[in-house]
């Protein structure tokens, strides 16, 4: 029942449409007729003053007008009607189609000839004009699309614009299927209307055929014409990059060749866009690869250097002690043993930094946050670094009553240790290293200052980059890992770290940590409660 009904409405629609188009083609004739009537009335008024031949010329006017405005048919109609009306109303005997004077037949002949020639020429002119207009519009549309494509870097958005344009041109539904070479698949990337998809696997099979052969197929072509849509290859050179599926009204006319041309022009632009985006992606990937390659090289260099240097010191000292050739005095022996100990400690710190870096990089760093006392953290770090701080003078200024912070004690301790190690490394022998802390508003600032050569302003940001080493200090051993780890840890705590230099020479490394609302008041101990009882 339902199908019949819908068929019925379909037919109705068709009839209506045909009727509409018929009415459309009628209008020029009616208008031409009215013009002729108007000219006749004018002729009647002018008869007393005009010769017959002048009146005849008046009838060329509707021919010219209809030729320019509506084309050849209406203009011929105007010519024929003009002759008849002229004969009937003006040529004696008036109000009859009979002609007495043979000269008047000559006038008719001449009139018709002039009318036909003028009409034909005017029509041609009009067609030319139409074509030029259409071409201009096409160029404009192409230009607009190319502008949009150039402005978009996101392929999806480019193709969305593209399908909208195509849909606008053909007044139908459009689906864009882009070939993914990695998965050997056609992906429906864009469609107009946007939720549109291919109706079934048969349609998809036609799309694949087009992808493979790079030729049009489907409805209105000679290949696989049973398909509902017309499938259009989007090609660049010999490669089909995508397939365009176009669905028009089932009983509508096939697409005009100008429309097909326009679609092809659009497709070429789409192909350019696809290639451009693909190239950009490849370039991005290549850059990323190069970057990670660089990082790996830097990591390997740094690891081998930082593992081997203390190992070399240890091996050298141990083999000296083991060799039986020389007997060292007690002082030398102690110095060698100290070197071994120092090397081992340095190795340990380096391994710790490597582990921290891996944990930071892989995102498995879990903050074990607790209430921490900055003074306590600094104290533990100083105890840890006691040996290497020995030759330097140390100044610690931490005010009592500093608020507690919520932090991972061990990680902040690593930050302080790294900053101290850094200060020791770049400070002159017996130089002053000072550690201080202060609170401003809701932030606590911890500063580790050294008397080493000032880091140039332009390098201050970069010292926190992974494996970054100052140009001036390339010879000093170190990985360029320590500061980048500090940065990672501090940022994970919601703080900031930077370096400046209020006094030259010297550097001041500062990190900040947010101070949360302090914990509630402390309860009495069991003991105090007991005493109160």
């Amino acid at each position: 029942m339902k199908t019949a009904q819908s068929d019925n409405t379909e037919t109705n629609k068709g009839t209506k449409k045909r009727f509409a188009s018929m009415r459309k083609s009628f209008v020029p004739y009616v208008k031409t007729f009215l013009t002729v009537v108007l000219i006749t009335l004018l002729g009647e008024i002018l008869t007393p003053y005009f010769d017959l031949i002048n009146i005849a010329i008046l009838y060329l006017l509707p021919v010219l007008i209809s030729a320019v405005r509506w084309g050849r048919g209406p203009s011929f109609f105007a010519a024929g009607l003009g002759v008849l009306v002229f004969d009937f109303f003006f040529v004696p005997p008036v109000l009859s189609l009979t002609v007495h004077d043979v000269r008047h037949v000559f006038i008719f002949g001449m009139f018709l000839l002039v009318a036909i020639v003028t009409g034909t020429m005017a029509t041609k002119l009009r067609n030319e004009l139409d074509k030029t207009k259409e071409r201009e519009q096409r160029t404009l549309a192409l230009y607009a699309l190319s502008q949009k494509i150039a402005a978009e870097s996101d392929l999806k958005r480019v193709l969305k614009t593209f399908v909208e344009r195509v849909a606008g041109t053909i007044r139908g539904d459009v689906i864009m299927l882009v070939h993914n070479p990695d998965a050997e698949m056609l992906l429906e990337v864009a469609a107009y209307p946007s939720h549109n998809t291919l109706s079934d696997d048969k349609e998809r099979a036609v799309a694949h055929w087009v992808l493979e052969h790079g030729q049009r197929a489907g409805r209105g072509t000679e290949t696989l014409s049973a398909a509902q849509s017309l499938f259009f290859p989007v090609k660049a050179e010999d490669k089909t990059l995508a397939v365009l599926a176009i669905k028009t009204e089932p009983d509508g006319k096939a697409l005009a060749s100008e429309q097909l041309q326009l679609i092809e022009a659009f497709s070429n632009l789409a192909a350019v866009a696809i290639i451009r985006v693909n190239l950009a992606q490849e370039a991005e990937q290549a850059k990323w690869l190069a970057e990670s390659q660089k990082l790996h090289t830097a990591l390997l260099n740094s690891i081998s250097h930082d593992l081997r240097t203390p190992l070399a010191a240890i091996t050298g000292a141990v083999t000296s002690l083991l060799s039986k050739e020389t007997a060292y005095d007690a002082g030398t022996e102690k110095a060698l043993l100290d070197a071994i100990n120092e090397g081992a400690q340095r190795l340990n710190r380096f391994v710790g930094n490597l582990l921290d870096m891996v944990r930071l990089e892989s995102g498995i760093l879990k903050l074990n946050t607790q209430w921490c006392d900055i003074e306590d953290i600094v104290g533990v770090a100083l105890r840890e670094m006691k040996d290497i701080l020995q030759p330097h003078s140390l100044q610690v200024k931490i005010p009592s009553g500093l608020p507690l912070v919520k932090a991972d004690f061990a990680l902040i301790e690593h930050v302080v240790i790294n900053l101290i190690e850094n200060a020791v490394k770049y400070s002159p022998e017996e130089g002053m290293i000072s550690i201080s802390a202060r609170t401003v508003n809701d932030t606590v600032y911890v500063t580790v200052a050294d008397g080493g050569p000032t880091i140039p302003r332009y390098e201050r940001e970069r010292v926190f980059d992974k494996f970054y080493r100052l140009h001036s200090t390339k010879h000093t051993s170190g990985t360029g890992l320590g500061l980048s780890i500090c940065k990672g840890i501090i940022e994970a705590h919601g703080g900031k770290i930077w370096v400046d230099s209020p006094h030259e020479p010297g550097n001041r490394f500062v990190f900040s940590l947010p101070v949360p609302e302090q914990p509630g008041p402390l309860p009495d101990t069991k003991e105090e409660v007991f005493h109160a009882l």
């Binding site: 081992a344 340990n348 710790g352 582990l355 074990n368 607790q370 209430w371 921490c372 006392d373 003074e375 306590d376 953290i377 600094v378 104290g379 533990v380 100083l382 105890r383 610690v396 931490i398 009592s400 507690l404 004690f409 061990a410 301790e413 914990p519 402390l522 309860p523 009495d524 101990t525 069991k526 003991e527 105090e528 005493h531």
Partner: protein, 230 residues
């Protein structure tokens, strides 16, 4: 030598570490037995009757914590755990399971020997002494008084309780949880900020330089230790 004849069992799967410990500790007069796995360690404990056990937490067969738990079912032998830096939680779990102390790898022999001595002494100690002396610091538990260089130090009751608890465990690590449970009770064992505040206050009263404490040191992420100079 006081360590003469003291028996120590080393449970570690790394042969290099076992060899190093055996060489060094034998040199100090200890009597050493080795076990390369947790199971073997448990068996050896029953046969060798060690006075102290050095246990590596990373064993191939049994989890180190599991070894501690099984040992504690029937033996009170002091256990010193070998751990790595990153495992604060493991250290705490080991201490809560009944380990006496830990050293972090890589450790110095001096540090390990100090831990050994403290653990052995606590085991041997029979009666509580009323007055404890740590260098300049004296804690008189009978009179609840604390002296620094012979001068009385005024402590609040809470500060005193913390100092007393640490002093009784002198040389050994005390976890945050143990301290909080002992001073405030089991409901407060997560409230580490109490300790940060009170230990800070305490240090200001008894330490020469509170920013570089020499008496009550912090074991990062684990707890506190009162340094035993004896």
């Amino acid at each position: 030598m006081p360590s003469e004849g003291t028996r120590i069992l080393v449970i570690d799967d790394e042969k290099q570490i076992r060899r190093m410990l055996k060489t060094a500790l034998t040199g100090y007069g200890y009597d050493i037995a080795e076990a390369p796995s947790g199971q073997e360690g448990l068996n050896q404990t029953a046969i060798f009757h060690p006075d102290l056990i050095i246990l590596d937490l990373g064993l191939p067969d049994l989890d180190g914590i599991e070894v501690i738990k099984r040992l504690r079912e029937w033996a009170q032998t002091p256990i010193i755990v070998l751990s790595v830096r990153e495992d604060e939680e493991d250290k705490i779990r080991a201490l809560d399971a009944g380990a006496d102390d830990y050293v972090t790898k890589p450790f110095s022999m001096g540090e390990l020997l100090a831990r050994l001595r403290v653990a052995l002494r606590h085991m041997a100690k029979s009666e509580d002494e009323p007055v404890l002396v740590f260098g300049k610091l004296t804690v008189d538990m009978a009179r609840r008084l604390v002296f620094l260089d012979g001068e009385e130090v005024k402590l609040t009751p809470t500060e005193y309780e913390i100092l007393k608890y640490l002093a009784l465990q002198a040389g050994r690590v005390v976890t945050h949880g143990q301290l909080l449970r002992a001073i405030w009770g089991p409901n407060y064992q997560e409230q580490t900020h109490y300790l940060r505040v009170y230990v800070g206050q305490l240090r200001r009263k008894i330490e020469a330089d509170p920013s570089q404490p020499a008496i009550i040191v912090t074991e990062s992420g684990v707890g506190y230790r009162l340094v035993d100079r004896a």
